[in-house]
Symmetry: C2
């Protein structure tokens, strides 16, 4: 008889112990994400995958915000985050911390996600606006573009779902 774990069996960190814990060398940059649900969802994903920092830029709304908190379910308090007016400034900032920068997009020149090896280097990933994607200027500032191969009629995964795929791939490479 196998059973779901109860909340108290999950060995979850408190916010205080999580903040002190060493993070995975992953930074997430959200380039002008419009949806509050998507922003809240990225907070939860960054909490789950022990991400170093979540960076919001441009039109992204910031906590405290009721709608973000509704989706983040408290993760806005555990995940380190900051806001930059421009995504260019966010890229400059992460470079000062020796992170390589990869835009998640479908572009002329890409690395398909199944072929991407972080070699456990510090890796920042940029996710773009729901309609416009990552700005071309940011693509050109990046060290490379990661593409999630898609095989259907839309080629348009929801950006939070992209986050799940890409951040799982990076996390997996760190824990394997």
């Amino acid at each position: 008889m196998n059973k779901k774990l109860k909340l108290q069996q999950l060995k979850r960190d408190s916010v205080a112990s999580f903040k002190e814990k060493e993070k995975f060398p992953i930074i997430v940059i959200l380039d002008n994400i419009r949806s509050l649900n998507n922003i809240g969802s990225f907070f939860r994903t960054c909490d789950a995958f022990n991400v170093e920092e979540l960076i919001l830029t441009g039109i992204c709304a910031k906590p405290p915000h009721r709608e973000i908190q509704k989706t983040a379910l408290g993760a806005h308090q555990s995940v380190a985050w900051q806001y930059f007016e421009t995504t260019e400034d966010a890229v400059k900032y992460v470079r000062t911390k020796n992170y390589k920068v990869y835009a998640v997009e479908q572009a002329e020149t890409v690395i398909q996600l199944q072929n991407f090896a972080t070699n456990k280097e510090k890796t920042a990933v940029v996710f773009g606006n729901e309609v416009d994607g990552v700005q071309d200027a940011i693509i050109n500032l990046s060290d490379g573009v990661l593409e999630i191969p898609q095989f259907g009629t839309k080629h348009s995964l929801n950006v939070s779902v992209c986050g799940g795929a890409v951040l799982w791939e990076l996390t997996k490479q760190l824990i394997k």
Copy 2:
């Protein structure tokens, strides 16, 4: 100078050609998912990852539904789907097609996702309700439980984001 691809450069299938195309041997079962956004999002993810079939059960709303279609962005027309009153019936159905069944959960006995090898076998994955998760009865009917390791304060990824991580992992194993 690297540039985002324009829509017409994405080589997307038409609905007709997608329907005729051989699918990946993956079936997604949604066990009583409440949110219309999550259901719509799974349609998009199943379209992107060329999934054999999406199965809705219990309280899941079904297309045609305005809110599902708003999130699915048309993928409800390309992805093969059906509805079962109970998740048990969905499990029985996929077994008749020789699929193995894995619940995505945090449970007493699990296979961590980084250790899961499909060996390209037919694989059905069950995602559970936003609050209650996958039913214990379904966990016990399954061939195994897949856990996405989580390292934070919540241990509660959004179910669509879980879908991104798990379906990317399965897809990657099929294309690599």
